[in-house]
Symmetry: C2
Subunit: 386 residues, 2 copies
């Protein structure tokens, strides 16, 4: 088991009606709030009205229209408001995109230059505004971690900034807010959660048994409830288990004692930087192809364990179990309505070379991933998904 | 899934050599340190010398001799030193007893009256000294939670104080420190960890599936490694998995979304308050008896699930699986060298009535436990363990 630090100070308020604590909690930081959100679905669902009512004694400024795969342009806009108005606290209402942009804004507010610099050199992050979250899409786990992924359209880069200063102070996770999610968002979220756990589970270290069994538990939870959140959108048991699964999947718990780089996310990040596809969709297409590509005599044991523990595959040898596990993953994502090929998602093969090069350049793929991948390998994985 | 708050701010430094951070971390709080420890084993193992070397630029005061089932008399002694010397930070080096006493001292230092008052009325706790921990026995999980159990010999009470002020700021968990643990302490610790998870797993709420599967993962870890820590005391993989299991077992993660009171701990607390036996020994004797006593048509499903998921029981119906699970628990504790009866542990039947009454009076046994227990029930459980 590798050495690790575990220090996750976010205060999670989980369950029905937890939003009522907002006035008391935000007032700890001041009166000037920057409210951030996305395309405006929170206005349709009534969450916006409830928030504004709760914040009636605050001075609220708004940054709306934060897009999926959030852009540095939105971050710049938010930073300008923070500096101009002397914001005390940011309140992000939304999913991973809104939270990630808000995290970036929170540290950009104290940096004199362009906030994109902070992605390139994290040591420039010295301070951040306090951030509170009202979670309305569960997927990225951003509500309880210190990472934020931001895209730059000009440079076609999608990169992560990660420092302990970016932990939200408070995250309100009310499973009822998920009832109105469109099926495709519930599905893409489920794929993202599953992928987060798999990225940590498939790392070159077998001694952190406890971390692996906890991971298997979270994956079993996703497999058990994902389709139910689509077929019965207001099933509280399903929504609450998925919501907490998404948080636990990426709050550091499932990576402790392990080691190594992620395998599929870096590839997907490049695809969605080039084609702006939904992150979960990209992962659903790439994950089974990656599994197939890296399955071999050395990796079959771990894949077989995955198949047996998560999908209950039985009565076959390791290699066969491993293969069945890959089919199970493929079938699982398909059952959620995910496309199976890059072409279905609007990604053609013209940029395979460029994307493969970029994926290897911007990540640990060729150095520390479960099975090391060079440009040719990434290209081969793309070919498998055509 | 019940509503919950999850906010665990302790900074865990896990792994080899993590103790080196002590000077930097403690200096955040000041120069005057109260070093607390138990019977002096840390002097034999060299940990004491290493700590003193690291703290050579601090003003260190000592409270040694903190006993198992720590007493309010030790707490009073520590509080007096804190008040007298103006202590800035407490450093507890030891296991649950030393940590729990230190937690109580940390809040007693700011209370003008007798610290036992704080156990009786938690609202009197307003402030606490910062507490750092160097963990040398893994069992209670006290290194990452906000509870402390203290005994009062005069009143024969063993009670818990629990408030967010009592989270340690920092806990250093180096699995190598466990290499020198006597087998009986490793065994008693394993029983305690297993029992913590079972107390949370056997609660009247089946909707928190994710919490239950995470619990099963931790229990599988304990079953996999407990005996190995005894047979191969310096097996790092075994020690590290057990050490992190003990922390996760009681850092709030395995209780979220569940509800209800604990069942076996309140009974054991009374036994060890009356007879001063080792907590893990009491749990090893009482747990299988409690399981047998509360197994019925209503509870068999949960017991069967436990047997199948944790011990791999197969190919039998629910009631039979449940019964086999109880035998597995009994056999598991026996394999660790635990006594099987109260008489073996030096507990006679003379005080069964009194202890049963006290257990029900001081806990939620008769109101919110998995199967509600009245005095007669507790007495019957004692009889099963004679």
């Amino acid at each position: 088991m590798n050495n690790f630090d575990f220090h996750v100070p976010t205060d999670i308020r989980f369950g029905k009606g937890q939003i009522e604590c907002l006035p008391e909690e935000l007032s700890k930081y001041g009166k000037k709030v920057l409210l951030t959100y996305g395309g405006g679905s929170i206005k349709k669902t009534g969450i916006y009205d409830r928030v504004m009512e709760l914040l009636k004694d605050f001075e609220v400024y708004e940054l709306s229209g934060i897009e999926p795969n959030p852009k540095i342009t939105s971050v710049r806009e938010g930073v300008a408001i923070c500096k101009d108005k002397g914001i005390d606290v940011i309140l992000a209402v939304g999913g991973g995109s809104t939270i990630d942009a808000s995290k970036h804004i929170s540290c950009g507010a104290f940096y004199p230059g362009d906030p994109w610099d902070l992605v390139k050199d994290r040591s420039l992050v010295k301070k951040a505004l306090p951030l509170a979250v009202v979670l309305t899409i569960c997927a990225t786990g951003s509500e309880m971690n210190s990472g934020a992924v931001i895209s730059n359209e000009e440079t076609k880069e999608k990169l992560e900034i990660n420092t302990p200063l970016l932990y939200p102070k408070l995250s309100i996770c009310d499973p009822k807010y998920l009832y109105t999610l469109p099926a495709r968002q519930s599905a893409a979220g489920a794929v993202d959660i599953m992928s987060h756990v798999m990225e940590q589970y498939f790392q070159p270290n077998d001694e952190a048994y406890i971390t692996d069994v906890l991971s298997e538990g979270v994956m079993k939870t996703v497999v058990k409830y994902a389709l139910k959140t689509i077929n019965e959108p207001d099933n509280y048991e399903a929504r609450s288990n998925m919501m907490w699964a998404s948080t636990v999947a990426l709050n550091h718990l499932l990576t402790v004692g392990k080691g190594g780089a992620w395998s599929v996310h870096p590839i997907e990040h490049v695809v969605s930087a080039f084609y702006d596809i939904t992150h979960g969709v990209g992962l659903a297409i790439l994950t089974p192809a990656w599994m197939k590509y890296v399955l071999n005599e050395n990796t079959k044991l771990r894949f077989a364990r995955f198949a047996r523990e998560v999908f209950g595959v039985e009565d076959v040898d390791d290699m066969e179990a491993a293969k069945q596990g890959i089919e199970e993953v493929k079938y699982f994502f398909k059952s959620l309505g995910m496309p199976q090929t890059l072409s279905e998602a609007g990604v053609d093969s013209k940029q395979f070379d460029k994307m493969a090069a970029e994926a290897v350049r911007t990540s640990g793929l060729s150095k520390r991933s479960y099975v090391k991948l060079e440009e040719d390998d990434v290209k081969n994985i793309f070919e498998l998904c055509k």
